[in-house]
């Protein structure tokens, strides 16, 4: 086996030979192999995030007709290293009244929750950290550590803005987890497996073209999960300073930042794997090295969409944020899941499950009908709500004091007596 055919396998073989030649215990060899694998998988994301910050700043600047960072290195690519060294050298301020242990664990947990997802991301045909048979459930489960870290940070800071930010964050993240998981179930249903690699393997036609509405729900819900504009209420600087990380400084703040950027990329990669065909592309079976390239191209497209939305839309109001998930996305995702399961079962009943054209056509038809119905219902409800809002008379800003005011007060006193 040569290096270029499958470099990861080649290097793993080298490592295996080295460990065997050292005459180690077989269990020790397994443990060392697994630790090296975990280090490689987790450092992929952590290295990418450094360049991601630069990329995001550059893109946001372009959307706002600015240049962005352009001093350090070519195109300002070294800007992130400067930021990083500043954060490391900064004094680490811990509030006196902070709850020390949760305060220090929260940033670690926030980044760990994101890095854990990379364990089940398939990079190429056989390159996957661990091919868990419940991979999709695992992605949903480790996300809950992120919520926990936000709650811990907000509580332990002992600051009212931090606590308010944490409460908002929990309300938002838990609410949006419901449509997110329902949307995740749709690729599981189509691929008949919860393993991420099997879902990628089943996508002869990308699922975005089979169930576009599920992709839409998943995308909106994941925007809320990563707390990006228009759902960045958890750190709305005009209302609650900086939300749950108000009291953090130095590298602990940096870890929250890195966790947030990495979370965006991670969800983009998960979206690419579940809906955009993951590593699939021309010639990937012959040359596994192309797999990560295709995966990151697709993830990059999703990430670009996230940055685009971030720099175009304003923040939405908190009651609207909750209305969107509970009154629109959740019912829509439940109805969609049931409709797709029904369509799938009907096609199976009539023996048309292998008729790809009919299958895809039926799925798209179901999706379009449900999307149109949902949008129609939402606009009807919305316009009815708008009609109920009472219009109020415009009035002058300064009103002269009424001379009859004391008399009115005395009459009301008499009335009460």
């Amino acid at each position: 086996m040569s290096f270029f055919e499958d470099p990861i396998k080649f290097l793993a073989g080298l490592l295996q030979d080295l460990l065997v030649s050292l005459n180690l215990h077989p269990i020790a060899i397994t443990v060392i192999n697994n630790i090296v694998g975990a280090l490689i998988v987790s450092s992929v994301g952590l290295v990418i995030v450094i360049f991601l910050i630069w990329l995001e700043r550059k893109l946001a600047a372009r959307f706002q007709d600015r240049f962005g960072p352009n001093r350090a290195g070519p195109f300002g690519i070294l800007q992130s290293f400067g930021d990083l060294s500043k954060l490391v050298l900064k004094e680490d301020v811990v509030p006196d009244a902070a709850d020390k242990i949760p305060y220090n664990i929260a940033p670690i947990l926030s980044i760990a929750a994101v890095v854990l997802v990379w364990a089940v991301v398939p990079f190429s045909v056989e390159w996957i950290g661990t091919d868990l048979n419940v991979g999709v459930l695992y992605i949903a489960a480790v996300g809950s550590f992120g919520i926990l870290s936000v709650l811990m940070a907000g509580w332990a800071s002992n600051n009212k803005y931090a606590l308010l930010g944490a409460f908002r964050a929990v309300a938002q993240l838990i609410s949006y987890e419901v449509p997110l998981i329902f949307a995740l179930l749709i690729p599981v249903l189509l691929a008949r497996s919860m393993g991420v690699n099997q879902i990628v393997g089943a996508q002869d036609i990308w699922y975005i073209f089979v169930v576009p509405v599920a992709f839409g729900i998943f995308f909106i819900a994941s925007l809320a999960e990563i707390g990006r504009t228009p759902f960045d209420l958890l750190e709305a600087e005009s209302e609650i300073v900086a939300g749950y990380h108000t009291e953090y400084s130095g590298m602990k703040f940096g870890m929250f930042m890195a966790g947030e950027f990495l979370h965006s990329l991670t969800l983009a990669v998960v979206t690419a794997a579940l809906f955009l065909g993951g590593w699939r592309g021309p010639y990937v079976e012959q040359l596994p090295l192309l797999g990560p390239l295709y995966l990151f191209l697709k993830a990059g497209f999703v990430y670009f969409l996230i940055v685009w939305i971030r720099s175009s839309l304003p923040r939405i109001r908190i009651d609207h944020m909750l209305d969107i998930t509970w009154k629109f996305l959740t019912p829509l995702s439940v109805v969609l899941l049931m409709a797709i399961a029904l369509t799938d079962a009907l096609l199976k009943e009539f023996g048309q499950i292998n008729n790809t054209a009919l299958y895809v056509g039926a799925m798209i038809a179901v999706n379009v009908v449900i999307a149109l119905l949902a949008l129609f219902a939402a606009s009807r409800l919305n316009s009815r709500q708008r009609r109920q809002i009472k219009t109020f008379e415009p009035r002058p800003l300064a009103v002269p004091p009424k001379p009859a005011a004391p008399a009115a007060a005395s009459t009301s006193e008499e009335a009460s007596a």
């Binding site: 949760p102 048979n133 489960a141 926990l148 009212k160 606590l163 409460f167 929990v170």
Partner: protein, 177 residues
């Protein structure tokens, strides 16, 4: 002793220490955070038992929903946000409760010690796709369709009841006053 045995003892040890912390800490928020640690230890135990599905499910349901809800409620029900003094955590029955727990553990330990089947070690390798079979059994009338629907109805009833008690019940109470 094999490495997996050491690993099990380590997991059991930190789970039990965290559980002791849950029932003895003065600060209820710390109790709730330690509860997360204990629940995670139980998830690791499921993974050692080759029930990966339940390990992931434990994290999703217990840590992702139940523990977070509990932390949230502890924070909501403090008398005062700035209250830094914590009341005595135990009630007057503390000694009796300790005795009861000790007796229950003694009884269980005696039962386990007198049972021969408890000494056996795992010999059969698991080459059975329990998750797939479980999924089939949940929706087949010969399997557990009726229990599955029953627990679903129970959950629905609990959710409706919880919303009524927490939100609507209070509203009507305020209107009466």
């Amino acid at each position: 002793m094999t490495p997996i045995q050491y690993f099990f003892l380590f997991t059991a040890g930190f789970t039990l220490l965290a559980a002791l912390g849950v029932v003895t800490r003065r600060n209820v928020v710390h109790s709730a955070l330690l509860l997360v640690v204990a629940l995670f230890g139980v998830a690791v135990t499921f993974a050692i038992l080759e029930a990966g599905f339940w390990a992931v499910f434990q994290v999703l349901v217990y840590i992702g929903a139940i523990a977070i809800l509990m932390i949230f409620m502890v924070m909501l029900t403090r008398r005062n946000v700035a209250d830094e003094t914590y009341p005595e955590p135990f009630n007057d029955n503390m000694r009796l409760a300790f005795l009861a727990a000790l007796l229950v553990f003694g009884g269980l330990a005696l039962t386990i010690g007198g049972w021969d089947a408890a000494r056996e070690t795992m010999t059969v390798p698991l080459d059975y796709d329990a998750l797939r079979e479980f999924g089939r059994a949940m929706v087949s009338p010969d399997g557990y369709l009726v229990p599955f629907i029953l627990v679903s109805v129970l959950l629905l009833a609990a959710l409706v009841g919880a919303i009524y008690v927490a939100v609507l019940g209070n509203k009507s109470q305020e209107e009466r006053e």
